[in-house]
Symmetry: C2
Subunit: 477 residues, 2 copies
């Protein structure tokens, strides 16, 4: 297994002369082959799956894809190579010479000297059909095969690039990465229904607990990040989180990924919002520059008009309104809402959508929510009878809430009172402890990673931007 | 929130002249402050926690740490700044001028103009004591506070760097990152006891399943990576995996992280072993170059002699022996084993330790295990009555098994027979399907991430290299 750089190195060794046979031929990824400028008959071997077959009188054209890019490599072969085994979906190894293509559709093509079918593919049984553009909904039935289509291939490459971009963003800005735990004994954060965990042999038998205490799947890494923010001033985590909610929505999953950050010595929501906006924009710019063709495919075939909508989001400064202002805007709206907007009541999806449209389809931060609506750890604004907390949600076009964040209550006595009011003092003694020894003002946020992908690609259903979606009634594979 | 580069930029603006007050002072991380060459009185603000206080007649010395590096920044202040609140563990904000230090122990120090205590720290109640080197075992009692010690700070920074290095290695080599699911309906891979999952409200009530099928926590992302290796020739995952095993060992956790890769068109273990060795060495070199002081701390105070042992591993080519040879070596050993080595029986920890010593403490690949010992998906070697499979384990000094991998059975009919023999045909129809449509020879491996950290740092107990360890009878926080 050679890295791309070394492959290109190996390639240079055998270039420019017509290859005597038999000779060693460098294995090359399709992506790297397509990037060769000024091909001069280099001997290479390419491996992948056939995406198209076109048989002419004297020439056979194949397109071979190995997942390294959306584009496939064109193979040109003498018609004597033709065989009934060379079908859509079958895997092949092709050896030949990389030459400049005469067509304008590609830079290079591979003049085949040897074509080997590695594994055939029976067209009739294969649920993915040649030259058909299957709806994403149809493909969802085949979680083990759908990655072999252009659409899922592109989405998953974008997901991989976005993952790398997020890690880079935080690393470049001095954040320490923390693996917050999946299993937790915290059960009352109020972020939603929990999954509980037991060893499978015991779940059916007598209830002696594995961990001595009930254990749940995490709904957020925040509290554990707060532990770390007492030692490192900037930390982040990027891992799976869970909700046991009976939802069939296009924006919810039972298992989904969250990017969460926590920053110490932060005293205003402004500072947090700056990081959120920078993270969104920097990550997106990186994705756009690393896999433009994959993003383009989504913008062309999955969500027409999304390209312009995304550019609009990227070139404008995100807006900021308070929760109180948001309620005023909603009250003055000409639209009839199913849920009447009212101060003290949570924003509904219809409200979020209206607010984003009202803001010209620019992402908008909504800040300072009523204390009653938010969990115990959010910092009180001390604004008298209004009694709001320093919370922030970022609403974006298409998906609604993308980020949620807040300043955390770092004052021992204020937190102690809030915990006491909720009857949580005992369970959160350790959390209170963090405020006892060198407490600092701090805050953080979480971004739903699948919603982020939906937002930039314009993919309507969250089940199509995660490799293996888990939701009510479904845990395939 | 500014990135390090921009902070240095901001800093340049106010350097070289004595600062008139009041003026804006650039916030700076300790790590960046320590790296300033040729300090000339730049005005900066540093925030962090006090690690030491030394009060002399006319001068007060503080050391402030913000987690960005092991080293703290020395603050020099007029003794008039002295206060009972300036204690070990309390959080402070210090504003002043960055100047060249007169001591040889550091490049720069901060001449304080203003010191603000943000959060105090009561020494008596704080379980971490000034100037004491607490044993790791003692610190394990305080999972919410132990990150505030030098030892855990360094280990967690190394963990963060290693995480980034692993992502870089795979990205640079053309691998696509895949989030394999935590929740799975596969229950018979044979990798160990499983955790089962249900919504917490239902776990106590009537047993109607959330997913319609029993759902478990993953023991490995391999099968899901294999799905992806039918579309992308190189994929990897890096996430949490679980075992519900009643183990109190220093090498096992109920929740731990695995780095797993799957490569298509691979026909020999040799190719897999090359990637494993390269991953180990490239990641380690990157960690050593990015946080040498943190590694050094572990090598000095936690595991004496580990530096030499690690260099020995890095400079030698890893060795390869077959399982059959391993058994011969063990049989000829002068040592008495608790478990008598015998062909057809699994290697025990004592055997692994002996083999590594026998190989001169160089990591050693053991290949070609008896088919009976390994799961259904491993590729048969067709070596007649021996009946081995193309499996590989990497044994390393100190921790034993670090990697496990194999070629996978890609031949439809061979796999079909093996599944039938195990009565798994129905459950793994989807897995068999992967071999029906363009099947390719492929293989992969998994590396235990915590064991990797133990191996390079010399940390004896696995509970000390993960932020929040989960094991039998323990799920704190």
């Amino acid at each position: 297994m050679l890295g791309a750089r070394r492959l290109l190195g190996a390639l240079r060794l055998c270039s420019s002369v017509s290859c005597p046979r038999p000779r060693a031929s460098a294995k090359m990824r399709v992506r790297d082959a397509l990037r060769v400028q000024d091909a001069r008959g280099e001997c290479v071997t390419v491996q992948g799956w056939i995406r198209s077959v076109r048989s002419q009188k004297e020439v056979l054209f194949l397109h071979v894809n190995d997942g390294s890019s959306l584009e496939s490599l064109q193979i040109v072969a003498d018609s004597s190579f033709d065989s009934t085994e060379l079908t859509f979906g079958s895997s092949v190894q092709v050896q030949g010479q990389l030459v400049k293509s005469q067509s304008k559709r590609q830079n290079v093509e591979l003049k085949a000297e040897k074509i080997e079918v590695i594994g055939d593919c029976e067209a009739k049984a294969f649920p993915i059909k040649y030259k058909e553009r299957h709806p994403l909904e149809y493909l969802r039935q085949y979680p083990h095969l759908r990655c072999r289509t252009n659409a899922l291939g592109s989405i998953l490459r974008v997901r991989s690039e976005a993952t790398a971009a997020i890690h880079s963003y935080f690393k470049d800005n001095g954040f320490v990465h923390i693996h917050t735990p999946v299993l937790t004994s915290n059960d009352c954060e109020g972020a939603g229904e929990l999954f509980q965990v037991e060893p499978s042999s015991k779940i059916k038998g007598p209830k002696e607990s594995f961990f001595d205490v009930p254990a749940f799947l995490t709904v957020s890494g925040q509290l554990h990040l707060e532990v770390m923010s007492g030692a490192f001033t900037q930390v982040f985590t990027f891992g799976p989180t869970f909700r046991a909610e009976n939802s069939q929505s296009r924006r919810h999953l039972a298992e989904f990924y969250m990017v969460e950050a926590e920053i110490s010595f932060v005293e205003s929501l402004q500072d947090l919002m700056q990081v959120m906006e920078e993270l969104f924009k920097a990550t997106t710019e990186m994705v756009l520059s690393h896999c433009p063709e994959d993003v383009e495919l989504c913008h062309q075939f999955i969500a027409a008009g999304q390209k312009g909508r995304l550019e609009h989001m990227l070139k404008n400064n995100f807006l900021i309104i308070s929760y109180t202002e948001a309620i005023e805007i909603l009250k003055q709206a000409s639209q009839n809402f199913a849920f009447t907007p009212k101060w003290g009541v949570d924003l509904q999806t219809e409200h979020e959508k209206y607010l984003v449209r009202h803001c010209g389809n620019i992402p908008v931060f909504v800040i300072n929510y009523p204390s009653e609506l938010k969990p115990f750890y959010m910092r009180e604004n001390e604004d008298g009878p209004q009694n709001t907390v320093a919370a922030v949600d970022l609403l974006v076009p298409g998906v609604g809430e993308l980020f949620g964040g807040s300043l955390r209550e770092e004052r021992y006595h204020v937190l102690e009172q809030r915990l006491a009011r909720s009857g949580l003092t005992k369970a959160y003694q350790w959390y209170l402890d963090l405020r006892k020894f060198g407490s600092v003002p701090h805050g953080g946020f979480g971004m739903g990673f699948e919603r982020y992908l939906q937002c930039i690609l314009g993919v309507d259903n969250i089940k199509d931007v995660i490799p293996f979606p888990r939701f009510t009634h479904s845990c395939l594979l």
